[in-house]
């Protein structure tokens, strides 16, 4: 009920415009999806780096987070 000094509070933006979000979705979205890919699928179904080290290193996490491992 008792809000102090509401007059100096700048209006809060309720929605963030799409054009402000879009570049972040494109760049960060792609990089973060790569993170998920490396934990979830690299050197399993598909491989960008040769060998099996990544697969073996994240092995337990890949299984337990629910990704198909082998």
């Amino acid at each position: 009920m008792a809000t102090q000094a509401p007059a100096i509070v700048a209006p809060h933006p309720v929605t963030i415009p799409f054009r402000e979000i879009l570049p972040w979705v494109v760049f960060a979205g792609i990089i973060l999806s790569m993170f998920v890919y490396f934990v979830g699928a690299e050197q399993g179904a598909t491989s960008m780096i040769s060998g099996t080290w990544v697969h073996e290193f994240v092995h337990d996490g890949r299984h337990l987070l629910g990704f198909p491992c082998h």
């Binding site: 809060h12 999806s33 399993g44 179904a45």
Partner: protein, 239 residues
């Protein structure tokens, strides 16, 4: 604005990932070790190559890095979804928006795909179908997330005519029916359990759900207050 949300999402995700690691150590490693024991017992005389990564590293540092990286990634994507959803999925405060997204995210990103293609421990699988199964799993995630977004859009549109409650029921029902159809259409998981003990398989899958649930709960609960600092507390409109 989006930048600070993104950073906070990744931070909350990092903490969530580290907590998921703790849960994985507590309840996940036991069935994994049992599964590996089973695998070794039943292994034919393959040429045993030198262990590339030791079991201690796999169940320690490897697991920690995997859950942390996954947490950061999911946290960042969560923040981007939040940036879109805030103020659009309803007149919800930042913490409430984060809570809704946490539930929707856990269900659509993990639980629904899990119901079609459940997590499998080592020794349960089929090396010949790993490509197909991985593809199907990611496809199931993509469809489920897409339908969840569509359901939230539908809910908002329908709310004008039907009211909040009916619109939510309608959108939820539409989501479930469409998901059921997709699950029916997609091929079944092609894995052989063979002689693998059912109790260990059950324990492993429950552990997997527990780890993911812990991650999403900590992420959503942790991100909410952080987002509130960026967006400010909900305005009290009184005139």
């Amino acid at each position: 604005m989006v930048r600070s949300l993104l950073i906070r999402g990744m931070l909350a995700g990092l903490v969530a990932g580290m907590l998921a690691f703790v849960v994985a150590r507590l309840i996940g490693e036991t069935p994994v070790e049992l599964a590996i024991g089973f695998e070794e017992q039943h292994a034919h005389e393959h040429e045993e190559g030198a262990e590339l990564v030791s079991r201690a590293t796999q169940s320690g540092l490897g697991l920690a890095v995997a859950t942390a990286v996954f947490g950061v990634a999911i946290g960042g994507l969560f923040a981007l979804a939040f940036a879109v959803a805030h103020g659009r999925i309803g007149s919800l405060a930042p913490r409430a928006t984060a809570a809704v997204l946490g539930v929707v995210g856990f269900v659509s990103v993990y639980l629904i795909p899990f119901l079609k293609y459940p997590a499998n421990p080592p020794a349960v699988g089929n090396p010949n179908t790993i490509g197909e199964r991985t593809g199907m799993y990611f496809l199931m995630i993509a469809i489920s997330v897409l339908f969840a977004i569509a359901a939230m859009v539908l809910r908002k549109r329908a709310a004008v005519r039907l009211g909040e409650w009916n619109a939510t029921v309608l959108a939820g029902a539409a989501f479930l029916v469409l998901i059921a159809v997709v699950m029916w259409l997609l091929p079944a998981a092609d894995v052989s359990t063979g002689e693998f003990p059912a109790a260990v398989l059950w324990e492993f899958r429950i552990a997997s759900i527990g780890i993911q649930a812990a991650l999403w709960v900590v992420l959503a609960a942790g991100f909410g207050p952080l987002a509130e600092r960026v967006l400010g507390k909900p305005r009290v409109v009184r005139s």
